[in-house]
Symmetry: C2
Subunit: 307 residues, 2 copies
């Protein structure tokens, strides 16, 4: 069995971790969002890829869900004392990942190669690949002007009201050859419970990506990141509402219409089942919160049963 999971940050990484415990490294591959990438101080920072790598390697800070456990922030403090914007949380050990990545990129490697190498160095089994090799950051038009996604998420703490999303130059992005190969050989797809607008959205916006996923004959299972009308973590619910989309698991499902063949609702959203079924999806209900490792593995098993 060959499974490809599409994932963004923390929620996606949780399910990816669950999947990695029941599938072999050969059976599982993950395509990570790079729409939240940001260039800081000349360094290429890939927060979603890093959250996936740190989670899968067991190095992640369990409290925050991102960054490295026990990391310090001495460099960041010094950057602030230089009067530099210190809102982005760069840990000292975490910085090494950005330096390593930037060095490899500057030496001519592409992001696929860099990401595979980071995984290898940190002992991550499943292949993790970026959705594209290029730099296509997501910007939000808000009531406080145009913001890079990280400015919105971290600096502005998601407070601005969102009007629209721009995946910069995404029409010029290309699916990496290695990702095309994975998709062409996949027996099933998992769309992780990540924000559909800023985590899964950019992946599906890469030209040809939606088509390549839809061409897979096996089950394509999406898990709702919205439970009882609220995001488990992050601004998904607020964003959906501000864009005038239904703030519910059914609203998310509608974004995956024609793409997902199966949709997993949280038990608490069971009443939405008929509504999602009308979108042409096979619907099942489960506990989707994934608070501990057991819950992650349970949900992963539920997903794989469908495939």
């Amino acid at each position: 069995m060959r499974i490809v999971a599409l994932a963004g940050g923390i929620g996606g990484a949780k399910l990816a971790l669950g999947l990695s415990r029941i599938l072999s490294a050969e059976e599982l591959a993950i395509v990570g969002n790079t729409g939240d990438d940001i260039e800081l101080f000349g360094l290429r920072v890939c927060p979603d890829l890093d959250t996936l790598v740190y989670t899968l390697s067991g190095l992640v800070d369990p409290e925050r869900g991102w960054g490295l456990r026990g990391d310090t922030f001495h460099c960041l403090e010094a950057l602030r004392s230089y009067g530099l914007p210190g809102w982005f949380q760069l840990g000292d050990r975490d910085l090494a990942t950005h330096l390593f990545r930037t060095r490899m990129l500057n030496e001519g490697a592409d992001l696929v190669e860099v990401t595979l190498e980071v995984c290898r160095r940190l002992g991550v089994g499943p292949r993790l690949l970026p959705m594209t090799n290029g730099y296509h950051p997501t910007f939000l038009e808000t009531d406080r002007g145009k913001l890079h996604l990280q400015e919105y998420l971290v600096r502005e703490k998601c407070r601005p009201e969102m009007r629209s999303i721009v995946y910069r130059d995404i029409e010029k992005a290309r699916i990496p050859e290695a990702v095309l190969q994975l998709l062409s050989q996949a027996d099933g797809i998992v769309i992780c419970p990540s924000n559909p607008l800023i985590s899964i959205g950019p992946i599906l916006a890469v030209p040809g990506f939606r088509e390549a996923v839809s061409a897979i004959s096996g089950a394509r299972v999406a898990v709702s990141p919205i439970v009882a009308g609220e995001a488990i973590k992050g601004p998904a619910a607020k964003m959906l509402g501000e864009l005038g989309l239904p703030v519910s698991a059914a609203g998310v499902a509608s974004l995956y219409r024609g793409l997902a063949t199966h949709f997993i609702l949280d038990n608490r959203d069971a009443e939405l089942q008929p509504q999602v079924e009308r979108l042409g999806m096979v619907v099942s209900t489960r506990d989707t919160i994934m608070s501990g490792l057991k819950e992650k593995v349970d949900l992963a098993e539920g997903v794989i049963e469908l495939i």
Copy 2:
């Protein structure tokens, strides 16, 4: 009075600190060596400039003589765990200086502007300027091949036998306008007790620099970095010997012939006085070791008396 000091790393920084205690910020300017600059992980690192800035700001680690007091090395440890060369000592807080510098350079500032800004941020009074805005690293031809100066100094711990020095593309280097102005207005020059081959040598190798210094009508005072045939710190003695030059204060003086009008020997080298006088210099003897702040200030006073 307007004094320009030429300085390399630790020894130069000690005298610069002494000078900064007896001269006002308007009276003192320092031109720092950038021949020991290195690009690491895409960052521009200027070890001599940083040693000067950290020493003058009082932030320097007093034991090592370089780097920041109390700095940690967590990022460096993580870089090593990525299999990256971790021989260069990048402190976590120190890294912020390199990130700040690289960011400003990438945004189009030149190294003069960056260095002045770093000084301003860290509260350094005297102007500190790089000898040139370009990147002209020093390479050594050795019995173990061609080495970047930092590879020789730090990674190889000065063990290889040196055959020749190359200041890369130094013939294309230009003296920054701000440095030319300082030199044209200077009432006197101090050549700090820095390594004449790898600290002062690159400065004087910038086309026109030697001439601009020689054109100053005031006293041009050099302080020997060699005492009793040995370097106070660093590989100056070993290097002089391997290049077939006399390993003595008089040997250093001969490198500054026609440039320095005055030469300060350590008290222990008083017997070299006639030899150095024959080079056409006014010679005085002093305690030049600068172990504490008092000794730094005393030597600085001795230098300024001559000007």
